[in-house]
Amino acid sequence: MRAYVLSRLAQTALVVVLSLTAVFGMVRLSGDPVLLFMPMDIQAKDVNEFRQRLGFNDPLAVQYARFMGGAVRGDFGESLRYRSDALGLVLERLPATLLLGGTALGLTLVLAIPLGVVSAVHRDSPFDHAATVATVLGQATPGFWLGLMLIYLFSVQLRWLPTGGTGTLAHLVMPSVVLAAFFAARIARLTRSAVLEVLGEDYVLTARAKGLAETRVIAKHALRNSAIPIVTLAGLEAGQLLGGAVITETIFAWPGLGRLTVQALLNRDFPVVLAAVFLISVMYTLINLAVDLLYGWLDPRVRLRA
């Protein structure tokens, strides 16, 4: 078990290095970052002087070596746009990102799993149909539209909730609902189909034949056996949420990682882009590892093979 985890962690390092290399190449090949930071009415020769000073005139290989050399020591360089430590800027956004992502994920699971299970158990009932409509709507509604509508209703009209920013629990409500609306719809649909599939299995019939209470049959036999695909999707969603929910963060002025990363990409502020890619890829691979370990806990057969 320990060997497995260690080898997976080594893979994580490899994934991180490869993603940094790929992103370094893409960002650097997409154009000259220096002009974007300079004032518009500046002389061409001053721009060149800046380029020289920042090392952008060196061969790409030299720049790559310099970057990787720094990155190993946790130094991603100085943000071109903000003139402060790139990794610091990224880490500063992490608490807000974790808070929003965690809340949204919790809300998603709390909403979606019961919804999916009840829909599956009462298949073709009015509840099931209503749930189907709700989940389709949830997936089809664009987050920016839902966000703006919520703001107009709950902030401008009812004045119950602030339009954006952080600080109190009230600030967290709308952004996490917008995120959860989309993610919960996917999980609920998947839960419904996974549970439906399992409900037809012989061991469920056996459990019922033993005279187990229906709630026990569902919770212990049906749900646990249909958990693998749900956990897989939830893991993917968690990765997406932690990587930052750009649109939701933008609409609700949430100081998260996604907004910072996308802005940095648009501005070719590549020290920040790379620091963000580093953090996001580390989190993503760790979540994947957690999901894989969960498989083993949920399904002993997976453990044996590992």
Binding site: G31, L35, L36, F37, M38, P39, M40, D41, I42, Q43, A44, D46, V47, F50, R53, L54, R81, Y82, R83, S84, L89, E92, R93, V133, L137, T141, F144, W145, L146, G147, L148, M149, I151, Y152, L153, S155, V156, Q157, R159, P162, T163, G164, G165, T166, T250, I251, F252, A253, P255, G256, R259, L260
Partner: protein, 476 residues
């Protein structure tokens, strides 16, 4: 379904919106003002990064050497009380006595020298180094007198000194704490002191009770960063913010009707133009074609119909808000004349194909990768050199027009005329020359539209200085 209903209900509710919000009323009591901006500052260190959003916030903390008159945009005293031209390459500034930085350090000739030295030091990597390149030396005459010596005649020095290009840094703190620390906790002489900067969220400032012009009316100014304009509008309408810039024309009515905010507008010094690119082969290299374009575009109609009158036409590259402006004649809308000019140039206007670029970024312009024409907004544009030098010479990054020897020479001469009358004359001639060459279809000065909460009194300015020292909180 739920979504659909919202879509119908929201405009109705908007129409019924009434009473001021509790939060806004609290702010009237505590005398706080919240300004909603689309982005956060890029640094807290003055004279480092050229960026409107950054500087509009920084100049609450730091003062300029000179200010600009809100109406004429001409330089006027601020930290310097007077200035004079000693000779063609020496400017002397008399500094205001008794001004102190927020840390108690006195403002004096040493501060001016330290600030300009900081800008010019390559280690500072300041964007402003290029702007101040011509300053060779800062001489301290005495505590309250300082001389700037340039390596050639440079009349625009006075224009740079009356912008955020000359926000004054505290020399002692700069030396002892270093730029890094000052970036975390900025120190200036301005009307507000730094309290807190929460990245991507807000910048909080408090009133400086010892400000040399007297304390501000607002006890606290908070800048909130709300990237989405609809969310910014919602924040204004719900009373979370008091001032927002750039209300889109279609949203003016809901703001006025809300009863919580009003619209204030200013004719901006920012100019918008249609560049007729002569720097690459094509029909735009022919003066007749460029003139034909000027006769073909009906600018007045565009303003009336598309912009609903919220723009003011310009006829040349300098707007009346520019201190070096001199009137030039507009090209009249005259389709027949345009047709004739096209034919004269050997082009059949019925078959002529031109590409108009509306670049969303500026990359295409910088890479000289646009079509025959492109749109660009430029500004705040308050002095001549800042337009003529970067936009009409082939060697410049953003120019669309150039390689005209007469204009190149005229620009080189004009930007060195120090004497005020000579300068006015030179710019008037240059303006006329450029107008005749028709390098653009000059379009308009946009009208900046601000949403201002009903309990705040504040008037916007043509140079886009959003300065809360000027704001008053009025009880309702």
């Amino acid at each position: 379904m739920r979504g659909l209903r919202c879509l119908l209900v929201v405009p109705l509710l908007l129409a019924l919106a009434g009473a001021p919000s509790a939060a806004a009323q609290d702010r009237v009591k505590t005398r706080e003002i919240v300004v909603g901006l689309g982005a956060e500052p890029r640094t807290m260190l003055a004279v480092t990064i050229v960026d409107w959003t950054t500087n509009t916030q920084l100049e609450h903390i730091y003062d300029r050497l000179l200010d600009r008159d809100a109406r004429t945009l001409k330089p006027k005293p601020m930290l310097a009380t007077a200035w004079r031209v000693v000779n063609d390459t020496t400017w002397e500034f008399t500094l205001r006595p008794g001004v102190r930085f927020h840390n108690g350090e006195p403002f004096n000739a040493q501060s001016v020298k330290a600030t300009i030295d900081y800008i010019k030091d390559p280690a500072s990597k300041s964007h402003y180094a290029a702007y101040w390149r011509k300053v060779k030396e800062v001489q301290i005459v005495n505590d309250s007198t300082v001389r700037l010596v340039t390596d050639g005649p440079w009349p625009s020095l006075i224009d740079r000194a009356s912008l955020t290009d000359a926000l004054m840094l505290p020399p002692k703190a700069l030396k002892e704490l270093g730029p890094e620390k000052l970036n975390q906790k900025p120190i200036g002489t301005g009307p507000f002191r730094f309290v807190e900067w929460k990245r991507d969220e807000r910048l909080v400032l408090e009133r400086n009770p010892d400000y040399w012009q007297g304390p501000a009316d607002a006890s606290r100014v908070t800048f909130r960063f709300i990237p989405e304009f609809s969310a910014r509008m919602a924040a204004l309408l719900s009373g979370e913010i008091d001032i927002m810039k750039d209300v889109p024309p279609h949203a003016l009515e809901p703001v006025e009707r809300s009863g919580r905010a009003k619209i204030r507008s200013a004719v901006s010094s920012r100019i918008n133009y249609l560049a007729l690119v002569n720097l690459k082969p094509g029909p735009m290299q022919d003066l007749r074609v460029r003139r034909a374009m000027n006769h073909a575009v009906n600018v007045d109609e565009l303003i009336a119909l598309v912009l609903k009158g919220r723009a003011t036409r310009i006829c040349g590259p300098l707007s009346p808000a520019n201190v070096d402006f001199a009137p030039v004649e507009c090209y009249q809308h005259d389709p027949a004349r345009a047709q004739a000019l096209f034919k004269e140039a050997g082009l059949d206007p019925a078959k002529l194909q031109l590409t108009l670029d509306t670049p969303s970024g500026r990359d295409k312009i910088k890479n000289r990768n646009t079509g025959d024409m492109f749109f660009l907004g430029w500004g705040p544009s308050v002095f001549g050199q800042g337009v003529m030098e970067p936009l009409f010479q082939a060697s410049q990054t953003y120019s669309s027009y150039g390689n005209n020897k007469a204009i190149d020479e005229k620009i080189a001469r004009t930007i060195t005329v120090v004497d005020a009358r000579g300068r006015a004359q030179a710019y008037a001639e240059l303006h006329q020359m450029v107008r005749d060459e028709a390098p653009w279809v000059p379009l308009w000065q946009q009208h900046d539209l601000y949403g201002v909460a009903s309990h705040v009194e504040w008037a916007p300015r043509a140079d886009e200085k959003v300065w809360m020292y000027d704001a008053r909180i009025i009880a309702r």
